[in-house]
Symmetry: C2
Subunit: 245 residues, 2 copies
């Protein structure tokens, strides 16, 4: 039976989603080890998106084929009883055999939070990038309008030797401005390695006046990573949700 | 010059407010070391309340006499630049010479959060007690009505050999019931060692039906710690604010 699992995690202590090296330090590795033990045979877990080291997820989605049939709630509670406190399965649903968490995903929402005030809320320190300077949200909005749509985002990809296509579609970028914080929401069909963090770093430089909103057009056209801004740190980023048809 | 400092901290990594043993593991110890270096002479920090190991504070208040005069914001930012990310001075105000953070406090608000659902929010795991069972908030409210007022709270004090008076006044206990959480707010003029956590543990046992709301009257009268409930864990408790006239 194929199961669709929704997972929430605090990425701080992990090397990201994808299994590699010490599997106990990746979310996929932890889930595969646990589910294989539970199932009595090797279980593969397919995640919708590969979050980087330190990036959080509110509702990552993955699927796994188990040899036995489970009650959905019982499977959720059993997995959670073995998971550490910083990872939780929030939902389990039986899925059609052909359901694949990554291939069937039609959209992903990421949120990035930037603290722009003087004294950071200590309780949110692991979930908000403490930039500590005022930014022009208006300039960031103008800049973002040049990013929305279908573009070659090679300049915003950390992988220099990326041979696969770097064209992606960003459906929407929206902003919530609070007194001491800017929250950016990205919605699109897929994102390149570090793409959301490099876009965010570039928008921050624009909000601070180091680059103009219009410079985005040249950066896109150049396809040159060095023309974009810095990579905003992982702790401010969260994979918010994954959409399916 | 006497300064009133408002401090926010995540208590997880600390042995509580009060200086003892390894001073680097207490909030008071950390502040005294830092302020003494800044001032060039030994500085004492008086806190309004001694939070236990692991207990958080949104707005603890303390005062410290410094030999030089500082601009309030500059002092706040300077202290914060030396503090770890889990402690922050949120406000600094010049205070009259006779101002004493503990002796002049007229009321303190504590909040305790209890998770009563199935799947805990991983991002709040350090700030909410994961009880994981449904509780009757109505019964807890009825029980709390017997605690409000001036009573001898000896049965709710962890220190068996407490020789000082154990009479305290709880002005108010209020409840916010969410779908999977109960948040209890305590307001009073002062609380004994572990008192809020023992009251909370007792209210939880009442909410679960292990004790009746009316048993509170007998527990108070007995003045016997063993008649009260368990000590709810530190991570759900936060010193919310301290009031002055």
């Amino acid at each position: 039976m194929n199961y669709k699992l929704t997972i929430s995690y605090d990425g701080k202590s992990y090397d990201g989603w994808q299994k590699q090296g010490n599997t106990d330090r990746t979310i996929q590795g932890k889930l595969e080890t646990l589910l294989s033990r539970l199932d009595g045979s090797e279980v593969k877990v397919q995640g919708a998106g590969r979050t980087d080291a330190g990036v959080h997820a509110k509702a990552q989605v993955c699927n796994a084929v188990l040899s036995s049939k489970w009650n959905e709630e019982e499977l959720r509670d059993t997995i959670n009883s073995y998971l550490p406190m910083d990872i939780a399965v929030t939902d389990v649903k039986e899925a059609p055999d052909r359901f694949h968490a990554r291939l069937n995903a039609v959209g992903k929402t990421y949120k990035y939070r930037i603290f722009t005030g003087k004294v950071m809320n200590v309780f949110e320190r692991n979930y908000v990038f403490n930039y500590g300077k005022k930014l022009s949200c208006d300039k960031m909005k103008t800049a973002s309008s040049y990013l929305i749509g279908t573009h070659d985002f090679k300049a915003f990809c950390a992988n220099k030797h990326m041979k696969k296509p770097t064209v992606r579609t960003i459906e929407d970028i929206s902003f919530i401005q609070k007194e001491d914080e800017i929250e950016i929401t990205y919605y699109g069909n897929g994102f390149l390695y570090n793409m959301v963090r490099i876009i965010t770093g570039t928008l921050i430089e624009i909000g601070e006046g180091k680059k103009t909103p219009e410079s985005i057009k040249d950066i896109l056209e150049s396809k040159e990573r060095s023309n974009a801004g810095f990579t905003a740190p992982a702790n401010g980023l969260i994979l918010w949700s994954v959409d399916y048809e």
